[in-house]
């Protein structure tokens, strides 16, 4: 259908507008130019402002409350702008819960877990894309099929497995169940299939080994997608909640999101300042990663959603 319209367009659009068109051909409404009437523009800006507020106000509330002195949190009418910046909320959060340990555990599990997951994803994506094996698409289907397994159905048995291995409350118990990778493997595999065959063939003719080809040809070409996959995996691991919750049992092994939950139940309704400061500590690293690499992250996620 779109093809025929294409043709028609090509026939009609060059030269003057066709005589049969409406007397004053208007620009396409979807990409309005300066022709949009003023009231409509104003209405659109009101809507944009409302959308902005919908997302900005809660985030502003988070950061401003983390810096408010206690008496400005517990007053009504609400204080929107803190009269002074109260950094001691962060110190309070840091001392009332072992946030130093939480932060260390979060960094270790996220960095090591991401490195391992991307590592196994790279190896298996390369195998699927470039190594000859007759039944490999069956193996591929098995691995991608694991995306259909919801996290909550594996929870109980993984806990039993890790417990039998004696890994409860350890880093290997936190990290290893999460390194199997179907999503990142799939993203990287799709990119690897775009690598020009001539390049890989040329490297093969030069007598290089698979390992050398992967390292010198394939990975450099696929670097953008590998980076995108790494960022998405990194964020997922940092935000991970239910597995660290059940597999850790002492506060020195908890990760930040779990620590935050315990801070909330300890301080709860009595000390919103420190609790919001703790929330900032948990959220800020991902906000920074997101703002630094938002094009890549949004691009990767929307491409995954729209092209699949």
């Amino acid at each position: 259908m779109s093809l025929t319209i294409d043709r028609k367009d090509e026939l009609e659009s060059p030269g003057a507008p066709p005589a049969t068109a409406a007397p004053r051909p208007r620009p396409v409404r979807r990409r309005p130019g300066p022709r949009r009437p003023l009231p409509a523009t104003m209405a659109l800006y009101v809507l944009i402002a409302a959308t902005f507020a919908l997302f900005a106000v809660p985030l502003y509330w988070l950061f401003s409350s983390a810096l408010k002195p206690e008496h400005e949190i517990y007053t009504y009418p609400l204080t929107w702008v803190p009269s002074s910046l109260e950094w001691s909320n962060f110190a309070d959060a840091w001392t009332s819960a072992p946030f130093g340990a939480f932060l260390r555990n979060s960094i270790i599990t996220t960095v090591v877990g991401t490195a391992l997951e991307i590592g196994v994803a790279l190896l298996s994506a390369y195998a699927f894309a470039f190594v000859y094996f007759r039944g490999k698409m069956i193996v591929f289907a098995v691995m991608v099929g694991s995306l259909m397994l919801p996290g909550h159905i594996t929870l109980l048995v993984n806990y039993i497995t890790i417990s039998n291995l004696g890994w409860l409350n350890t880093y290997q118990g936190l990290i290893l169940p999460g390194i199997g990778s179907a999503f990142a493997m799939f993203l990287i595999y799709q990119q690897m299939r775009q690598v020009p065959e001539e390049l890989v063939d040329a490297a093969r003719m030069d007598g290089t080994s698979h390992m050398r080809r992967m390292h010198a040809v394939v990975i450099p070409i696929c670097r953008p997608m590998i980076l995108t996959a790494t960022l998405i995996v990194l964020i997922t691991k940092w935000n991970d909640f239910v597995w660290p919750l059940i597999v850790t049992s002492t506060s020195d092994m908890r990760t930040l999101p779990i620590g935050l939950m315990f801070l909330r139940s300890q301080e709860g309704y009595d000390a919103w300042g420190p609790v919001m400061a703790g929330t900032v500590i948990v959220a800020a690293p991902m906000l920074i990663v997101f703002f630094l690499a938002q094009r890549r992250i949004i691009g990767g996620i929307t491409a995954g959603a729209l092209k699949g």
């Binding site: 367009d9 409404r29 309005p32 109980l156 990778s181 179907a182 940092w238 909640f241 929330t279």
Partner: protein
Amino acid sequence: MTTLLQPVRRPPRSRTAPPPRRSSPQLRRRRLAEGALFWALILPNLTAIVVFGYYPTLYNFVLSFTDWDFVQPAPVVVGLDNYIELFQSGSMLMDALRNTAIFVLVAVIGTLFGGMAIGALLAQRLRFSGLVRTLAFAPHMLPGAAIGVLWLFMFDPNYGLSRWLFSMFGMESPSWTTTSDFSLWSITIAYAWQRLGFVAIIYYTAILDLPKDIYEAASLDGARGLPLFRYITLPLLSPVTFFLTVTGIIAAAQTFDIIATLTMGGPGTSSTTLPWMIYDQAFVDFNIGTSAATATVMFVLLLIVTGVQTKYASKQVHYS
């Protein structure tokens, strides 16, 4: 995030040319070496997926026919008892199913409508819309635990934004997270807020990708405004809407961290959804069999959703 992929519909074409047919010992050895290399590269990932993905799913199914509390030396086989108990009227599962259904439906439908509106608005390319886009997507990147705790404070009826918002209409803020009439709505609102920007950006991208020529043809025919949206844009977006519906159901049905930080499934079972019940039964009440059976029920329900997706996804051919 893992719910973003649509199932692979056709097996990807093989890019590795098979070695020549004529088999000499040398070639056979090389083919064997390729096979060995293939398995060596696959094995770390495959092992992790089988050991921590497929095996637990199967063994969970076995556990659902047993009774165990982690303390007894071994699970006791009780047949269908767990399921019979679960499906009695008034059971916790019935509450959890109802709560999950409400939570998922409201969150998915709400974010679809809101996200489409915001996506269409952002696609107008106004000034500041880039900033709004970034800001709207940010909550999707944040830990659910942080979202939950932030909303816990905003829902606070005495010192939270909720009191301010309700007082503008001369009303008093409900105790969102501590009364059973509102607890389910509190987790639904917080979750929808987190997901809304993601849906909006997907719609925004899809709207910018729409084929321009159709709009040119439609505007030549005098179509504009609401009818243009109703008869051209909406049908063209239907594959995206379908995709967002299915993945939205799957994602929402597994929400856990927001519930854990906002309401912990309570008060009572008023905000207990399937994932919370699975956790609660296994790791708070130590009813391993009940938890395993609940997980199996959830798995079957999600499989049905995925099945619907694979069945109908290929029929959505408005543009390709």
